[in-house]
């Protein structure tokens, strides 16, 4: 016996499969989301160097990212920081990483011991050295000793 249609035809699609698929996509994007990418200034063009090696995956050390655009401006979250505020900003970062170090290692002496944090320098290929050197000196004065100079590896290009 066939079903008879009522005057008001009602179609109720089964939404469960589409909901399943949407949840799977959400899970995928949640897993691959990279909040650290916000620290990078994506506008700048890094130099291409064949000998640049990707960061070791087992390196658990913290890092402090420094971005310098092609005009030599120090950028934080993509916005240029005033020259007069750079020293204060790096000093605050130094204090923060010293405290972090002390929390990990109670024997850490903030006045003598070095900070294990790596300063990652991301500068545009056209940034003059004097601008980079000013930032390096400021970091060294605040106890940073480990530096990593970022470049685009030749394979990625």
């Amino acid at each position: 016996m066939s079903a008879t249609l009522s005057n008001k035809a009602r179609a109720e699609p089964n939404l469960t499969p589409i909901l399943d698929m949407v949840f799977q996509l959400i899970t995928f994007f949640m897993l691959v989301i990279n909040f650290k990418a916000n620290l990078m200034d994506m506008q700048m063009q890094l130099p291409v160097i064949g000998s640049a090696r990707p960061m070791a995956k087992d390196d658990k050390r913290s890092f402090f990212m420094v971005n310098l655009n092609n005009k030599g401006q120090f950028t934080v979250f993509g916005r240029p920081l005033d020259d007069s505020k750079i020293a204060g900003f790096i000093q605050k970062q130094g204090e923060f990483y010293r405290l972090t170090e002390r929390r990990r290692n109670p024997n850490f002496d903030p006045d003598k011991d070095e900070i294990s944090t790596t300063v990652i320098v991301r500068a545009d290929r056209a940034t003059p050295f004097s601008k980079i050197y000013r930032v390096i000196r400021e970091c060294q004065d605040n106890g940073f000793r480990n530096f990593a100079f970022r470049a685009q590896s030749a394979q990625a290009k």
Binding site: M1, F29, R125, A126, F129, N146, F147, R150
Partner: protein, 169 residues
């Protein structure tokens, strides 16, 4: 014959949940930024120290407090001068000029000769860089320096490197 629903059967309205799920999905799609494939050159850089400080008319060995009189002799100095456009103009390795070629092959050869010798006195490099030099040019030189091995030991790569500016006091 029409199917009659039993009173226990509950039908959830999934449309509202699907709306919300789509909104969250849109947020993740719009904010998705794949991380760029970047490499790095890792260096340990303590603040640059003067290679040797000697007072005027001081004789060698006259100051007994200097317990490391040969400090600085194990450091290989490299000087990079820059053009107005920020390119490398001249390279001096240990005060000897090296020809600047597009791939910096001459610099590579000179560093191999000086650092690769098993009897090399050098274990660190100080690079004095022209203030105008572009980051790209500096990275080319750093790439060549960090590629060098000391004393011919393939596991002992050069990592002790300091940068000083031309204008540094």
């Amino acid at each position: 014959m029409a199917k009659r629903k039993s009173p226990e059967e509950v039908e959830l309205n999934l449309a509202a949940m699907l709306d919300m799920a789509f909104q969250i999905l849109c947020f993740f799609i719009l904010t998705f930024k794949p991380p760029p494939a970047e490499g790095q050159i890792q260096l340990r850089m303590p603040p640059a120290q003067p290679l040797q400080t000697v007072k005027t008319n001081e004789r060698a060995g006259s100051d007994a407090s200097k317990n490391n009189p040969v400090q600085g002799l194990n450091t290989l100095p490299i000087i990079l001068t820059a053009t107005d456009e920020g390119m490398i103009r001249q390279i001096y390795v240990n005060q000897q000029e090296v020809v600047v070629d597009p791939k910096l092959a001459m610099l590579d050869a000179q560093l191999k000769k000086l650092l690769g010798d098993p009897a090399t006195p050098y274990d660190q490099v100080v690079i004095q860089v022209g203030s105008n030099l572009k980051y790209e040019e500096l990275m080319r030189v750093l790439g060549i320096c960090t590629h060098q091995t000391i004393g011919g030991d393939p596991k002992n790569h050069l990592t002790k490197l300091s940068l000083v500016s031309e204008d540094a006091p």
